[in-house]
Amino acid sequence: MKIIVIGNGMVGHKFCEKLLTRDKKAEFQITVFGEEPYRAYNRVHLSEYFSGKTAEDLSLVDRHWYASNKIELYLDDAVVEIDKYNKTAISSMGRKLPYDFLVLATGSAPFVPDIPGTSKYGVFVYRTIDDLELITSYADKAKKAVVIGGGLLGLEATKALKDLNLETHVVEFAPRLMPRQLDESGAEFLKTKLEHMGIHVHLNKTASSVSGKEKVEALEFKDNSKLESDMVVISAGIKPRDELARDCGLRVGPRGGVIVNHKLQTSDPYIYAIGECALFEGMVYGLVAPGYEMADIVASQLTGTDKAFRGFDMSTKLKLLGVDVASFGDALAMENECRTIVFEDRVWGIYKRLNVSPDGKHLLGGILVGDASAYNILLQTYQNGLALPQNAEDLFMKSGAAAGKIAGGGIAALPNAALICSCEGVSKGAICCTVKDQGIYDLDGVKKITKAGTGCGGCIPMIKDIISETLKELGKKIKPAICEHFDYRRQELFDLVKVHGIKTFDEALDKFGNGAGCEVCKPVVASILASAWNELILKQATIQDTNDRYLANIQKGGTYSVVPRIPGGEITPDKLIVIGRVAKKYNLYTKITGAQRIDMFGAHVSELPLIWEELIEAGFESGHAYGKALRTVKSCVGSTWCRFGLHDSVSFAIRIEERYRGLRAPHKIKSAVSGCVRECAEAQSKDFGIIATEKGWNLFVGGNGGSKPQHALLLASDIDEKTCIRYVDRFLMFYIKTADPLTRTATWINKMEGGIDYLQNVIVNDSLGIGAQLEAEMQNLVDHYKCEWKEVVESPALRKHFNHFINQPGEKDPNVRFEELRGQKKAVDWK
């Protein structure tokens, strides 16, 4: 099927792209005629030509694009006649080609008012690269320039002339600038801003003629005043290029524009019109985004999808001017009944106006002058009908993304269908998918793949926000590697260690890393090795964090604290006496911890093995207050004494603690068991918590205290002890294998795609079929448990390292100092 496209502008080009992607069967042969000598270029960025961009820079595709896509392109050759009866197009160079369908994408020409003198030397329009070239060369000799037209394009031209170092004037016949987008106050603020920039603004002025001998000398007005000038740039609006259509008898509007229906067909169903030459429901769309949408619709019509054009939002943001100006939706409150909120700051020259629905719930439109950083998010809020906060005034207080947060939850609240890049028609969902499914994490990559942000570029800040929001959702840091020595994530390294049977840090470094390691990767690998094999961690003491290396927590001043395990918080009077005796003997400060244990502080490193020896003698073992490991399983007294207790929570807590004691993990793990729903053990604040029910136990996971407290989520209910332990086995092992370093279970689940539902499926329904394997791996760790303190106490080689001075064994650090407080000692304060 033969398609002829007339016009190689922005929309004509987009049509080619769209048709190519939709033309799965390669049934279309496309021919394009362009009147300009350049391949389609980015007209929206035309003004950058002044700041040094070349035609090639502005070009939308490289020189080979058309040929390599088998499109015939005739540049510098305008179509001069359409023979719609014989379905042929004839060009100025005499080419005469038949078509099955014709697409008019002829754009528009600047509207030049019908006044004498506009053909004088020194009068320009502002539409094409050639126009700009003429302006630049003429501006060399000029000192003073006038722009006719204070609308969007006129102001852009004004700024460009100003940047060419001309004395610049802008003349508008309406009583205010940008009359279609701004209200009186907004326009007034804008005028002030422009005047500050040295631009002269003349309102209520209607030009009557351009005077001068051969070239421009002055612009004269209806009120008989005149403005002397060396050059005049006319930017008084656009006039659709409908001459071909008119000549061949297609219907056109009274003020120009080829009339189209919602399929974008003209009065001849074999001829379509798109972009700025089309007139849809009495309207010519002078922006690129609606044009692109039209291009897509015609491409889909031709390929058998019935998509229709339904009008388009005309929100705009002025770029380049050096003053932020934007308007969106029903900016002038002409169409709706609404409440208007206005914010003015004359010092900074900021004017903002929001039109909200009478009930204050929705944004209908608005105007921003002086600070348009919130434009994107406000536009989205308006387009997607997001609910406004209680005090819509708050939207003024913050700018940019902060305003977005207030406006109904910001980026995260936007539906996937939200159009982010209207130039290229890219939705939020498309950007998220590129990040999630294709693993593209940077702006450039996303731009390349989706084309979002490649048009006017106004949406770029929002694309960045969406990328980082999505990355956050995925739990990704921008650089996923552990550190400079290992280019893997913890989970990957864990698998490698398991698969390759790696037992030491050095082996891991040799095989998968580089350099000497550091304080970041060493503990990570140490934790992986411990979780993978559960061998004594002191075999590789030097890769352990200091607390793991000394099996105690280092304190201010360099001494250590000792926390023996007190499973479930249950302790006999005899054991209490032992703790008291030991603490007294070594002069240790004692305190009940926040987790039902007793902490002894202020032990010198050389005293640790001696203290442990005595504790072990009395039946204690290491409590792992150090290390990323299981801490305590807190209990409430439960059915043994409590009048409400349903089951024996203490016994179950002890059983749980003894099963998982010493277990190494990406972060510490805490647990608790409560005897009834009153929940005295605070099980719902633990990594896994168990609460007695009439029928058994409820198992909760992912609770957290600390700085970001979070309640645990129900994983399984009314299960018996055996099932409970099975699920906990699976849960902990799955966590150990897949979480990033230093990620508590709460954060791990928060970041998990599918969240608790997914986790439940894996743990309870065994959806991945790994349940039995996880249980076996856990059983292996349980079987290999040994008390770490005991291992040191019994090994002279290990004990040797519990000395402050290698060359003076037993001698304590003379620098350590204590003070007295309430009858006990304390470390002296930092200096």
Partner: protein
């Protein structure tokens, strides 16, 4: 084995600190020299030895020898166990942050089974660097 880290200075005095086997591989120990505390590290993977003051200038804690050693872009370093500030073992400068506090480093040499720490003549017994 004969190894020394920093170029021999003229009137350097070599203090016999300990045996090679006293120092954990890829780890450190604290050596008492007169009233001074010196941290000594064995980078077994690279077959290198380094020494520095034991006092961490951050909060004036005697703790550097218990820190974890490693490398940053190839440069050997140590991280204080208390707040993980890191220091170069080549020139002692602080690698972690803006604070311009560094630590003193010492040359080390290994002869037979013994490790010696080099103490420059004029430096004998001098104060460690503090923030």
């Amino acid at each position: 084995m004969n190894y020394s880290t920093t170029q021999d200075v003229q009137d350097i005095q070599w203090y016999p600190a300990c045996m090679i086997t006293d120092v954990p591989e890829n780890g450190g120990v604290c050596v008492k020299y007169k009233e001074e505390q010196i941290a000594l590290f064995h980078f077994a993977r690279r077959g290198e030895w380094y020494a520095s003051q034991n006092l961490c200038p951050h909060r004036r804690q005697m703790a550097i020898s218990r820190g974890m050693i490693g490398s940053q872009c190839g440069e050997p370093k140590v991280a204080c166990p208390l707040h993980k500030k890191t220091f170069s073992l080549i020139d002692g400068r602080c690698l972690s942050d803006e604070e311009d506090c560094g630590i003193k480093t010492y040359p080390v040499k290994v002869v037979d089974e013994y490790v010696y720490i080099g103490i420059a003549g004029e430096e004998n017994g001098s104060e460690a660097i503090c923030a």
